[in-house]
């Protein structure tokens, strides 16, 4: 769904750009015609303008790709896997939905403040590409990296996998835990 919307917007923008380009070209043509006394000239200047429009189109595509058009609460996101992160008193809990992934195909690594989970979700062996009547599930290799919150003890990570949900417990480093510092009354100045 999100993909369709994105494509729709893209098409609209493309069309707009094309119209703009056409208008610009017409204007340019007129200009050239008057300058040369009504004689058609090879309009070599178009080349640059063309590039500029193409660049604009590319830029729009790039911008659109960065826009998250998935609906809140929906499951249409093409990202795999989906992840949540919650903070507790002494640890963070990262959960990821990776249904159908075998434990042996699951890899969790942490280094330099980045946590990476990767794996592969294999399509059923007996299924051929042309035997699918419906294909909505993601197949293939996937990888996601997130920046760990500050002050996580990278050596103390616990990962657990059940019913297709991966849970990673990230213990806060001692410096990240809030300590109450008692304030005592000092000698009066």
């Amino acid at each position: 769904m999100a993909l369709e919307i994105q494509q729709g917007i893209r098409q609209g923008i493309r069309q707009g750009i094309r119209q703009g380009r056409k208008a610009w070209q017409e204007q340019e043509t007129e200009l050239v015609q008057t300058e040369s006394g009504g004689v058609w000239m090879a309009v070599f200047r178009w080349g640059n303008a063309w590039d500029a429009f193409q660049e604009l189109e590319r830029e729009m595509d790039r911008l659109l790709q960065g826009v998250n058009l998935s609906f809140p609460g929906g499951r249409s996101s093409r990202r795999f896997p989906l992840m949540n992160l919650v903070e507790r008193d002494d640890h963070y809990l990262l959960t990821a939905e990776v249904p159908g992934v075998e434990i042996s195909d699951l890899e969790v690594t942490a280094a330099g403040g980045l946590l990476t989970i990767k794996g592969v979700r294999r399509p059923p062996e007996e299924a051929r590409d042309d035997s699918f009547r419906r294909q909505e599930r993601f197949h293939g290799t996937w990888q996601r990296t997130i920046q760990l919150p500050d002050r996580v003890d990278e050596d103390d990570l616990k990962a657990e996998y059940s019913a297709g949900i991966l849970k990673i417990r990230l213990k806060k480093a001692a410096s990240g835990i809030v300590r109450n510092i008692p304030v005592t009354e000092g000698p009066e100045a």
């Binding site: 990776v98 009547r133 849970k167």
Partner: protein
């Protein structure tokens, strides 16, 4: 899509978030999602896969009534939902989707397996009735 049809209007293929009030212990509103599925054909019939992360066998209800196959997966609320949410890409809810089976599917031989949050349902094709020869006799 002649043998197995999705019983849900195409519009709600994805993003079907329907808060429902379920009778019973908890009166809180629960979300219900339309899980993504794969359906493909094999020599024996059809195989259906559905992603049901968080669903275990005791939370899964698979029913065939008349010619409708309904799957409902209940996800247990866990303590992992507690805490301050820093980042949220998915929400916890149950899964519901139903399909219309054609007569070609042998309803009595449907089998299902749930593994790592993925449901696999085998829908074998009904074996064609053997041509039966009818003896014609004379009086």
């Amino acid at each position: 899509m002649s043998d197995l049809e999705n019983d849900v209007p195409a519009r709600s293929q994805e993003d079907a978030v329907v808060p429902t009030k379920r009778s019973g212990g908890d009166s809180e509103q629960r979300l219900v999602f339309n899980p993504p599925i794969d359906i493909y054909e094999t020599g024996d019939g059809l195989v259906l896969y559905a992603d049901l992360p968080g669903v275990t066998t005791d939370g899964l209800d698979l029913q065939v009534q008349d010619n409708r196959l309904t799957l409902f997966g209940r996800v247990r609320r866990e303590d992992s939902d507690e805490g301050m949410v820093l980042h949220e890409e998915y929400r916890t809810g149950d899964f519901l989707r139903s399909f219309i089976l054609s007569d070609e599917v042998d309803h009595d031989r449907i089998t299902a397996r749930l593994n790592h949050g993925v449901l696999r349902v085998e829908l074998p094709r009904a074996s064609r009735a053997q041509p039966r020869r009818i003896e014609v006799s004379t009086d």
